[in-house]
């Protein structure tokens, strides 16, 4: 369908301001949080209801127009990067909190609701929504579902997939599905899990029922400094093997503490090679118990300084530094590139050593902040896009980090998704048979292949061309494709 004809069709039931096609109106949508990739969409639509979403999708399906969903556009893997010949479907106007049920501890919300807004609405009842990505003031719950987002609290309280009960989803063909239920399980296959983290490839999420968690009576954080990053890594393992699951366990290396301290004044030890933030929450009795225990373990693990937050202000100050790590990176460098590999905790020190070596090799600084408790690394490579060739060098550095994560028994993405960014690394992590299954799953939901095409799962051809064809479990990959 001609773009203007499509606009005309959409405007039969949408107000003019909900269908954008002039380039100055499209500009704000040309990228998400991964701004190195940009693409103007053909049309942007802003529906206000599920019924409108259904009509939009039916028209796009009939006219074979690709559709890319967008929440708040904070994604870090280019998942919401528009399609040049497609419709960008913004869910930003579906932002109503439909119901908070304090007794059942659930909230029913539209996809455009901000993550933090759910916790704010639940706060009067002593409840909150546990997954807390650092982007929580901005990111949408629909985007969280699409990426299976996590946050500092996820070590103890789980990721998005553990905290949602039900979804309403519209397929590309315009059919609506109710997935999951108000109870703790549902009949049939676990499509709730399949939808979570599916990066807008299988359907459009139009409503979410989330679980709410009772706010802890008390929280306290231990800040421990180490002169050697290995000792910090060991301390993480020691806490876990003592049978403690902290409410959060985050690590920052020296580059990170220096960048942050200058700007936030969190009171971090600047001599330390690494600092650990380890939080206990629960009843006052539980917290006192656990803090004593954590303190002891940090001491035995060789911490050079240990401080325990004395009050809520101090606790928030200790965390403020960690939460400001990304903006701090933005202050010390014109650009930064955030990686998201996850590894078994025991390989932490080895992988960090490797990153340091690569950093020297590429002549690019790298700061490390990460969810140490679950082995989710966020190396931030600092670079300057205005220097010719530096972005390419950065991407190569990043790709090597991800290969290292795979080799360490880990994965290329813990919470940010594959998007457009990590397609090549998917070829290293999976064999052609697994990739075929992923394409088959996509086909089961979207046989026409119109939803977010080209994202999340690489084509077999792309993998063959990328040349990441290591021998996988003794089999040659892509035997069906010609060699060159």
């Amino acid at each position: 369908m001609h773009p203007l004809e499509l606009v005309k069709n959409l405007r039969t039931f949408l107000p003019p301001e909900a269908v954008l096609y002039e380039s100055e109106d499209l500009k704000p949508y040309e990228c998400d949080g991964l701004s190195a990739y940009r693409q103007m969409p053909m049309i942007v639509v802003l529906p206000q209801s599920e019924a409108e979403v259904i009509r939009i999708l039916r028209i796009c399906h009939m006219s074979e127009t690709p559709v890319v969903a967008r929440g708040a556009g904070t994604g870090l893997s280019g998942g919401a990067l528009p399609h040049a010949a497609g419709v960008l479907l913004s869910l930003a106007k579906l932002k109503r909190i439909l119901e908070v049920d304090p007794l059942a501890r659930t909230a029913r919300v539209q996809p455009g609701v901000r993550n933090l807004a759910i916790s704010e609405a639940a706060a009067p009842y002593g409840l909150y929504y546990a997954p807390d990505p650092s982007s929580q003031i901005a990111c949408s719950i629909g985007g969280n579902v699409a990426e299976n987002s996590g946050g500092v609290h996820c070590l103890k309280y789980g990721l998005t997939v553990h905290n949602i009960l039900q979804l309403r989803v519209v397929t590309m063909a315009g059919e609506s599905l109710e997935i999951g239920g108000a109870g703790l399980d549902a009949p049939g296959y676990d499509l709730l899990a399949l939808m979570t983290g599916s990066e807008g490839m299988l359907g459009i999420v139009t409503e979410i029922m989330v679980k709410l968690t009772p706010s802890a009576e008390k929280a306290q954080v231990v800040m421990a400094a180490f002169d050697d990053i290995r000792k910090a890594g060991d301390a993480v393992a020691n806490v876990i093997s003592a049978g403690i699951i902290p409410a959060g366990m985050e690590m920052m290396d020296k580059v990170a503490t220096h960048a942050v301290e200058e700007y936030i004044h969190a009171g971090y030890n600047l001599e330390a090679a690494a600092i650990l933030l380890c939080e206990a929450d629960g009843t006052a009795e539980e917290v006192a118990d656990e803090i004593r225990h954590i303190d002891e373990i940090m001491r035995q693990s060789g911490a050079i300084e240990i401080r325990t937050s004395r009050d809520e202000t101090e606790r928030l100050r200790f965390w403020a530094g960690r939460k400001a790590a990304f903006p701090a990176a933005g202050r010390v460098s014109p650009d930064y590139y955030c990686m998201d590999g996850t590894i078994p905790r025991k390989n932490l020190a080895r992988v960090l050593d490797g990153i340091e070596r690569l950093s020297a090799e590429y002549g690019l600084r790298c700061m490390n902040v990460f969810h140490a408790g679950d082995g989710n690394l966020h190396p931030l490579i600092l670079y300057d896009a205005n220097r010719p060739g530096e972005l390419e060098k950065t991407e190569e550095f990043g790709a090597k980090i991800l290969e290292m994560c795979i080799a360490a028994g880990g994965t290329i993405t813990g919470e940010h998704g594959v998007g457009i960014e990590k397609l090549n690394q998917m070829c290293s992590q999976f064999g052609s048979r697994e990739l075929k299954i992923f394409h088959a799953v996509k086909m089961a939901f979207d046989p026409a292949g119109l939803l977010n095409p080209g994202k999340a799962v690489p084509t077999l051809r792309r993998c063959a061309e990328h040349g990441a064809m290591h021998v996988h479990r003794g089999e040659e990959k892509f035997p069906e494709l010609p060699r060159f």
Partner: protein, 357 residues
């Protein structure tokens, strides 16, 4: 061990060529659960030979085991390191295997507080209906590379693939547990369970039956004692045996031979007015109903649906109703397409879940 996998794969390929159904069989402990496999020339595919723990590192909180491993052996190994399968899967017999536990997707008393089987599954190795050896997920806590096939497999009753190895997140055993009993009526119990679940209390299991609410507290000693002070109630002796009897359905409530319905629903649903006896778990979200053969399946299913849930005929007794709650046409068509992709010849446990799959 690779030769066992090769044999499984050959069996699957041959069955696919002949379009002859396979009945994937673990310990046979959950024979009663689900529907009968349909088709002619059904052959058994016994997975119990593929057993043993592949990797277990307590400090990583992850265990990887082969699906023929007996659940009891796996749990014993974890207990040695003061860890557990936190979802407390029911065994329903000493022969229960890890494969059957994941395929059936059943969780026990701790489910409402820590999560279900699927919440702890991190990765799978499996054979699909073509006999292809596939790996999804991994051994790490967070992983969003590719679709979540590992969790899709959980609870799929062996209809999408033969599971070979499973990686699971494990949790430390709580330092202390205490079980309390409080006398009250059902409506009050439902309200209390929901109210308390909204407070920061260390409640790890609930069971209401015969006008008694039994609660388990798990956590740090100080927290458990503090909660006991707040909640009151009598401390129950032999508590481990009590929870074991609920988990394994050896509790007197579960009378053998009768139809047993499992209704999963919104936890705040008021008492259901269905004839028969009820036992409530999961803070109100799980209701067991013992009824006689005259009980009409439609009535039970309608009650569950109205409450935002679904009903399973868990043990058929004399009833001839289908085991699982029917799916809407749209959902069934997605299910069928998924089945076709994983098992194009329709040979893996056909009919075990729904006649169409």
């Amino acid at each position: 061990m690779q030769n066992i996998i090769d044999q499984f794969a050959d069996t699957i390929r041959i069955a696919a060529e002949r379009k002859a159904p396979l009945h994937i069989c673990g310990g046979g402990s959950k024979e009663f659960y689900g529907n009968r496999i349909v088709g002619q020339n059904i052959s058994m595919l016994d997975v119990t030979a593929y057993s043993g723990i592949v990797a277990y590192e307590p400090t990583e909180l992850v265990v990887t085991a082969r699906t023929g491993t007996r659940l009891a052996d796996l749990e014993a190994q974890l207990h040695k390191h003061r860890q557990m399968l936190a979802f407390e899967p029911p065994h329903f017999g000493a022969a229960a295997t890890l494969g059957g536990c994941i395929a059936a997707g059943l969780s026990g008393p701790r489910r409402a507080s820590v999560g279900a089987v699927r919440d702890f599954v991190l990765g799978v190795r499996m054979l699909d209906g073509r006999g292809d050896d596939l790996r999804f997920g991994g051994q790490v806590m967070k992983n969003v590379a590719g679709y979540d096939i590992s969790r899709l497999m959980t609870g799929s009753m062996g209809t999408l693939g033969l599971l070979l190895e499973i990686s699971l997140k494990v949790l430390p055993l709580p330092p202390m547990e205490m079980t309390l009993s409080l006398q009250m009526k059902q409506a009050v119990a439902i309200e209390k369970m929901n109210l308390w679940a909204g407070k920061p209390l260390p409640i790890s299991a609930t069971c209401f039956c015969n006008d008694a609410l039994t609660l388990r507290l798990s956590g740090a000693e100080a927290a458990v004692h503090a909660a006991h002070m707040k909640l009151g109630g009598e401390e129950v002796a032999e508590a481990a045996a009590f929870w074991q009897s609920v988990r394994e359905q050896t509790h007197l409530f579960f009378q053998p031979g009768k139809s047993l319905w499992r209704l999963s629903m919104k936890s705040t649903t008021p008492p259901l007015s269905l004839p028969g006896q009820q036992l409530i778990e999961w803070g109100g979200a799980l209701r067991w109903l013992i009824s006689d053969a005259a009980m009409d399946a439609e009535t039970v299913r309608a009650a569950a649906k109205t409450a935002g849930g679904h009903a399973t005929l868990f043990r058929s007794g004399e009833s001839s109703a289908a085991a699982f709650h029917p799916l809407t046409a749209e959902m069934m068509s997605i299910h069928r397409r998924l089945k076709e992709k994983f098992d194009p010849m329709g040979i893996l446990n056909p009919g075990r879940m729904y006649p169409e799959l």
